[in-house]
Structures are given as structure tokens and as C-alpha cells.
Subunit: 541 residues, 2 copies
């Protein structure tokens, strides 16, 4: 489906041809990486599970037990103003105002092995490297940068579930690839709950990383394949000493030991490299198992042709971008197609190639007949993004509603997602805006499932009395100001969401529901002060 | 198969009838619970996954960061000399000289809710209760005790994968059932890695408990069903405060909140009870998932008939015990059948009802055509128990060898089990005695798999040069004393194991292997000092 759109404000004219254009050229993923844009410049494909992108620093969420405000600058891992790169990790949020992820940081180095990132002011103190934007390319589905410290060129591309790295080394008998399993975004002392690594052979490593944080109970499994056998490998544990030691002391676990587990681990893999030798890595993710990660890898990238994977990623982007062809200035095209690119990053695919995913109940489920998605930051996206998807991504919109209803089915609270975050709801922000997305998709005809069941889920969510003042809202028509710091916001958001439910009920001819929710949708008036023309909080009496 | 055995040392005579006798009456599980016997008195079925048994204290492995020697007395959770019971947990080792487990401690109480166990000297200070052996019954498959503090009678029985509790309460509007997810055997500060609990409805709770310890990476899933709906429930978290808090603060997670996770958690469930009212619990385990635990529960205990489950458990024991019928005094029968009972507790079943289990690679596997077993404490059991199984439990012996070979296939070290401990090897004790068990089973015809493949696994394990001096042993014919604190033990054990491998190779007509290993089996002579007639350590030169 290609839409030819006239955007009068940009003085565009409709195209008369629907032939595919080269639109990837207008995508500049670097846009938004400065200051508080919270975008990332790395490689991903549309709605991909993998977001393989550089980190420019590694800040802790806490300093002396208190929130470190600077961490907010690194919601997406990369800050344009920074001069150093600490590595390339596989998961990133785009544009969020809180954060998590940054799983499986990989960094190529040479010379003396250093397993700590070091400081931005003295990059030689650790594995990080200086870089300059002059030596950086950030395209849709492709990222490249020269790591100045060790004269290594890093290139990244991706499929839906597999990141591909290509590192061009200098001649060295001390070339390393570091896998830092402690690094992460919004990191703190107890964030990494458990880590497991299994060196299957001299080119294959699998394992998982389990974290706490914005997603309370989250595990990501991986399979990591090298294009060249490492000559040596090892781990370093940063776990605090425990009174209990067990019997693993029989082994030297530091060097060439294939069975590794603990809370705080880093791995390294050593190589001899010739001048200009490329070492490639395929790094597959799964929410379910090491085996599924391996299956994802085998299904999505069969060989070692980096250029082919890159070309596929860019072709996929080009196809998506061509859904809207605009005629305007080059700068406007850059603005438009970069925004379209960002619009097609989230939500993210959350099913393995075999259809399995970990559900909200922490059990393994199979998505039958749909792709399951996560990363529903609904307070941010219900207004514009999902309605846009109903026009531009109707099939995905259908699957997103199915994903929300699967989430509901697995929720022990019997609620639709507020903020779907892997096998968790992270409960961020206000409203129950899934209902708006679902109503819109059903009314516009993009959802092909059981509409009445979907409405029931909306009603159950909207009547969850214990959640965020809903009980007061239902009983009094507003939330007393002394009961909530966001009593007005919630009232306004619930009123809008209830109006959405009412419209869906009308469509389904469930007029009792319509009557109830259209009445509720007027609750906003109870916080409206006609004297000032503003919304105002109101006490209980 | 019923064997009629003459045990001359007991002056027994062979029985002429093979009719089943009531032999369960001679089993006294309380034997061995005193001092350092390390047996447990609770309910289990032959080779069961569940060992539902009382704990008489809750000691930490560490005191002030140092090993607490007293913890060793509680390897099986119960010490006959103690006067109090802290609760009933679902997993126990029998007879081991190191420990772990004690998963999912349940305690019924009434009156004021107390979530800490309190002290033995002041049982009122916590949920524990005084008890006396006069009010205690410990039979095969059945355990009963009166909890004096709150006048509650506790009864326990079990199927292979499901423990069943029956608590008889007094009249009270403050009756409680506590689920302590922090309690454990060989417990220490960081032992519980993660805990997840989901209250599905007012009679069903599922979740998991993930621990570190003797088994480094271990997760046990559960499903817990109550015979009566609880009127109220809650959790208490003992997690240390973290700088990162997330957005769960929107909820009151302490009371009636169904989605619970953290490191240190206790749950409680409240009831009104009439005088003499029985509340029953079915508590199913799985190494794989909450869903599998539920499936195990549904498959093994369909209703709420405690007496029926008890009768089944005892019938199962009786059938196993009748494999040997002896004629001797009552005391000798008690000794004999209690020992036979203890012999048929370990190893333990480690497959769900659907055949799935978590393998050594932390992946989910399906045991095709066999029951997978764990708890192979081989240094303790290779000499007598496994040869005994080849006579008395040939089908299980076959499956145990298959379990060992599955372990080998999943081992990233490519080794047969040293001490198979759920999805881990805990590496305890010396030798590679799987090879002795496997050789014996093949030579005696109880193993029906690929014998040559099994021999290959034995050879690979015996040639694992990095393991416990095997390299020295292979190169020098002994292990230099300066390289190992147990150089002589290892030499002797390896020599014996190698002799076993040689016998298997001869049986399979692989004479090159026979020659190699029969030669290795003479290595013990290199530590033999003919002057003293003793074995002696020897330095490298």
C-alpha cells in the first residue's frame, strides 16, 4: 500500500507515480540524539526486536544511593555531545522519558585487555574509545563508526531478531571482543539479577541476562556466533564475596571455562588479527530460551554476508517508507522520513521466529496467527501513533490489539496494558489508553478478532477500582485532590478513554455500556472551573 | 518382581510365598533424624520429586560472614533433638553431607499474624510452634504432628510431584497459612536470587523461586491450590531498599495484590475456621514452568481426598518394599525396611508429567521414553546403591543411566555427572563415578541404550585433563601431592573408575580402550608404599 499524500503545510504535491523511490537516503537516525531527544543512531529494522546501537557512556542510576539526574540524558544510550563510545548493545528504547535495556554490550579492542569502560576524560583507562562524528555513518538499518583509540572500524546492521556486527581490526596478536554483561541503561547495584553464559564451542556462545528495573522481572536470552574462532576466552566476575562458596573452586573459571553464571560478569574473547581483518558477530535475542535465540539466528541470517544483511535491512525500511511518498525540499524530506522512520521503530516485535514469547504471567506462550508486540508506551502513543498505524500499518495495528488482549488474558490484575514492557507492565504514566487504541482499531475495521471480548477487556480495565483513583472517579465523578497528586490529569484521561469505550459500545450495539461510559466521559466537567476557564483540582467535600 | 532373600547375618529364612505383605508398618522415617543422620521424617513416595517434611529450625549458613558449623546439623531440615517446628517445606535431601533445598516453607498459624519464625526458646515470638514426639507420626508417605502453640494438627502426604497438606484448625477468625519464600536449607544472604508469585484466584497461587547455592543456577516452579478460598492475603517484602523504585508504588502490594516479585518475600493467606475445620493444600512442583506445575497437580491429585492420596502413597511404598521379603525379628524388620525405604528415596524424579525438565544447559528438554532423574550423589552411591538398583530397580537403573547421558549431552564441559543437582552439577566430592554406574548397568544388561555411545561418554569424562588432577594422573600415573590436597584419594578413585571403563570396553570388544584403561587402572600402585603397606602421597619429582 502506497499512499500519495499532499501535506499543504509543507507545500507538497501528490505524486502521480507509485514506483518505489529511494527514501532511505532521507533517514537520519542521528536526529534526536542530541540533548533530550532520546533517540538512538544504531541499526534496527521496522518494529524490530533488536536495536543495535552505540552507548556513549555508562552512568549509574544512583550516586551515593540517590537518583543521578544525569542518567536521564542516556535513556537511549547515546548522546551526540559525547566524545567516546563504550560499546554496542542490542536493545534500546526510542524517545522514552524513562529507561531500561542496553542488553549485551559488545566492544572490540586491541592491546592490553581492559574490562572496565574507563572514563570519558581518559579513554585509555578502559575499553572505551574516542570517536568523532566525522567518522560516523548512521543510516536506516546501518551504523558505522571508527573507534579511534584502537583503530578499529565498527559496523552494525540488523534483522528483526538478530544484530550483526562487523569489526575491522588492525594487525594484532591481542585483539579482543568484550561482552559486558553488567552494562545497562538505568543501571544500578541490584539491577542484574542473574547471568548465565555457556561457551558451546569456539565460535558459539549462548546464555541469558535477567534484570530488575523498569521491567521488574525480565530475562533476555542470547546466541552469539563469531565468524572466526577465538583463540582464548575468559570471564571476570565482579560479584561480592559470599560466605557460601560451593565447589566450583575446583575449576579455573577465569580462563577458557565454558560454564559461567553469577550476578556480575564480563566475558572476553581473544583473537589474532591481520591488518584490515574483519571479525563478524551474529547476536540473536529471544525472550524465551537460548534455543529459540539460536533458531532465530539460523532463520534470519544464514551466512556471513554483512552487506547482504545491510541491504535487506535498508530494503525493508525503503518498503515501509514508500508507504508515503511526499514531494518537498530535501530538508523537509529528511524531517519527514526520519520522523516516519522513528514512527516505525516502536512497538517492538516480541515473538520468536517460532511464535513463542514470554507472557505477562512469566509463562511461555505461542502467538497463534499474529505477531506479538511489546513496548507499548501508550500514554505517549495513543493520541497519534496508533491512529496513524490504523491508516499506515493496519495489519500490524490488528496484531498490536491482539497483543494487548493477550497481555490482558495473562494479567493477574485483569488489566489491559498501561505500558507493556517485555513480560511486564511497568505501570508508567496515567490513563488506561489501551482502550482508546482498541476502540479506534475496531471502529476503523483494522481489528479482526472478537470485538465484544475486546470491549469486555476495556470495561474490566476501566472498572479496576484500586487503580489510580478509578474508584473515586467512579463514585464521585472526579478524584479528590487529597487522594492523588495527578487527580485532574487522571480525570481528564479517564474521561477521554471512557468516551472511546462508549463509541465502541455504540458500534457493537451494547447500549447499556454506551450509556454508562458516555456518562462517565462527562466527568471532566467536575474539574472544570468555569470562572477561570481552567481545570482545577477539587477536594473531597 | 519380588525377591525372596536369605540374609544369613540376620538369621533370616527365605519366604515361600510371594503375596504382598504389609511392610510399610516397619518403615520408621524418624530413624536417622537424630544427630548427624541427615534423614528427614516427612512424606515422600519412591524416588519422588517432592519431599514434604518439617523443619525444626532455620539457621543461616553464615554468621558474621563466616561459616556457621551448626547449619550442618540441618542438612535434612529436621533434628530429632529440637522442640519446635518452623514449617513444612517441599524439597529435602536424604543423608547428604552438605545441603540445599527446603523450598516453599508452609506454616499454619492462628491469632496475630507473625511472619518471622521466632526463636526456639520463645516460640511465641514468631510463627514457629512447639511440638512433642508423643504427638508425632512419621510413616512412609505420611507425616502428622500437633503444633502445640496454636493447637493445629498438621498432616502431610505426597505423590511424585505434588505434596498434600491437611491442617486441622481450631475455631478462629484469625487463621493463617504462611508461605515463606525466604526460608531454605543452607540459607545465606544472597541465596534467593529471585521470587515470583501470582495469585490467580482465591484458591490458586503459582510462581517460582530461583536460588544460588550448592546448585548454582536453580529455579523451582510451583502451583499451590487451597481447598477453601482465603478471605484475605498479602505479602511482606524484606528486600533492601534500592535507589531505583519504578512505578509499582501505584499499588498497595502488601494486601490482596496478585502480582508479586522480588528477592525476599513471604506470603500469607487468612481464613475463618470452625473448630476442627480442615484446610488442605495441594502444592505441585516443576523444574520447568508454573503451567507444568499446574499440569502435574491436575494429573496426580484430582480431588481433595487426603486419605486416598495417603493410601496411594503407602501402597506405592508397600509395592516397592515387597520386592524383598525377609523373615526376622520385628526390630530387624524395622531396620531392614527403613533402610530399604531410605534406599528408594534418591535419586529423585526430575521430569514433569509431560516429560519435560530443565537440563544442565538451562534449556527445557523432553525425556523421550525415560524418566529423567537428578540428585546423583555418586561418590556416596556408586559402590552399593546403584549396583543394588541393577538388581532391585533395573528399569529405574536403565533410566538413571539415560539421565546421566542426557546430562553429558547437555554439559558444556562434556562430562558425565559428578553430582547431578537439578539443572546443575554441584561438583561435590571426587572421582568420576558415573562411569562405574554405567559400566555396571551395561555389563549386567539393565541399560538398553547405545552402549558404545555410553562408553564414549565415559572415556571423554575420564580424559578431562583440567578436572581435579586428571592430566597429572594421565601423564605421570599419579597426582603430585603438591598439586592437590586429595592426590591419593583421587588416584585411587580414578584407578577404580578406569578399571570399570576397561571392563565395559572389554564387553564391547573395544580392546584398544580396554588396554588403555586397564593400564590406567594400575595407577593406584604409584601411591602404594610397600614398606608401610599404606597409600602415601608422592611429590612430583
Amino acid at each position: 500500500m502506497i499512499k500519495k499524500i499532499i501535506l499543504p503545510c509543507l507545500l507538497l504535491s501528490a505524486l502521480v507515480t507509485s514506483a518505489q523511490q529511494n527514501l532511505v537516503q532521507y533517514v537520519k537516525p542521528i536526529i534526536g540524539t542530541s540533548k533530550m531527544g532520546h533517540t538512538y543512531p544504531g541499526a534496527t529494522v521496522p518494529f524490530g526486536s533488536v536495536q543495535l546501537s552505540p552507548e556513549t557512556d555508562t552512568l549509574s542510576y544512583e550516586v551515593n544511593g540517590k537518583y543521578n539526574g544525569d542518567v536521564y540524558k542516556y535513556c537511549a544510550g547515546y548522546k551526540y555531545e559525547d566524545k567516546t563510545i563504550t560499546g554496542f548493545s542490542h536493545t534500546h528504547f526510542s524517545g522514552t522519558g524513562h529507561s531500561d535495556l542496553g542488553d549485551f554490550l559488545i566492544m572490540p579492542t586491541q592491546g592490553k585487555l581492559q574490562l572496565n569502560p574507563g572514563t570519558a576524560s581518559d579513554t585509555k583507562s578502559g575499553y572505551r574509545s574516542a570517536f568523532s562524528h566525522a567518522n560516523e555513518v548512521a543510516d536506516a538499518g546501518y551504523y558505522k563508526v571508527k573507534l579511534d583509540d584502537d583503530n578499529i572500524t565498527a559496523e552494525l546492521t540488523s534483522t528483526t531478531r538478530v544484530g550483526m556486527h562487523q569489526y575491522t581490526f588492525p594487525k594484532s596478536d591481542q585483539s579482543h571482543i568484550i561482552l559486558d554483561l553488567m552494562a545497562g541503561i538505568y543501571n544500578y547495584e541490584e539491577k542484574t539479577v542473574w547471568t548465565y553464559v555457556r561457551v558451546v564451542n569456539d565460535t558459539l556462545v549462548t546464555g541469558y541476562r535477567q534484570t530488575n528495573g523498569w521491567a521488574r522481572t525480565r530475562t533476555v536470552y542470547f546466541a552469539m556466533s563469531f565468524s572466526k574462532a577465538f583463540k582464548n576466552y575468559g570471564r571476570k566476575s565482579y560479584d561480592a564475596k559470599q560466605a557460601y562458596r560451593g565447589f566450583w573452586g575446583k575449576f579455573n573459571q577465569e580462563q577458557n571455562f565454558p560454564e559461567i553464571a553469577g550476578k556480575k560478569l564480563k566475558m572476553f574473547f581473544d583473537f589474532d588479527t591481520q591488518e584490515g581483518e574483519k571479525i563478524k558477530i551474529k547476536f540473536a535475542l529471544s525472550p524465551v530460551s537460548q534455543e529459540n535465540a539460536l533458531q532465530n539466528m539460523r532463520a534470519e541470517i544464514s551466512g556471513w554476508d554483512f552487506e547482504k544483511v545491510k541491504a535487506q535491512a535498508q530494503a525493508t525500511w525503503n518498503k515501509e517508507l514508500n508507504k508515503i511518498q511526499v514531494t518537498t525540499s530535501n530538508d523537509n524530506k529528511i524531517n519527514f522520513y526520519t520522523a516516519l522512520y522513528h514512527a516505525f521503530i516502536n512497538p517492538t516485535t516480541y515473538t520468536d521466529i517460532n511464535g513463542e514469547y514470554k507472557g505477562l504471567d512469566q509463562g511461555i506462550h505461542k502467538a497463534e496467527g499474529f505477531t506479538n508486540y511489546t513496548t507499548f508506551s501508550l500514554w505517549d502513543t495513543y493520541r497519534a501513533l496508533h491512529p496513524f498505524f490504523n491508516i499506515m500499518q493496519p495489519s500490524r495495528s490488528n496484531d498490536m490489539v491482539k497483543s494487548m488482549l493477550a497481555h490482558y488474558d495473562q494479567s493477574s490484575l485483569h488489566m489491559l496494558p498501561i505500558w507493556s514492557h517485555y513480560a511486564n507492565d511497568n505501570w508508567c504514566m496515567s490513563g488506561y489508553h489501551s482502550v482508546s487504541v482498541i476502540s479506534d482499531a475496531i471502529i476503523k475495521g483494522t481489528y479482526n478478532g472478537d470485538a465484544n471480548k475486546a470491549l469486555d477487556a476495556c470495561i474490566a480495565t476501566a472498572k479496576h477500582r484500586d487503580y489510580e483513583g478509578i474508584g473515586y472517579y467512579m463514585d464521585k465523578g472526579y478524584i479528590p485532590a487529597e487522594k492523588s497528586g495527578i487527580s485532574v490529569s487522571n480525570n481528564l484521561e479517564y474521561s477521554y478513554d471512557d468516551w472511546s469505550i462508549a463509541q465502541l459500545a455504540k458500534k457493537l450495539n451494547r447500549m447499556d455500556v454506551y450509556d454508562e461510559f458516555i456518562k462517565r466521559s462527562n466527568n471532566w466537567k467536575n474539574n472544570y472551573d468555569s470562572a477561570t476557564g481552567f481545570m482545577r483540582p477539587k477536594l473531597a467535600d
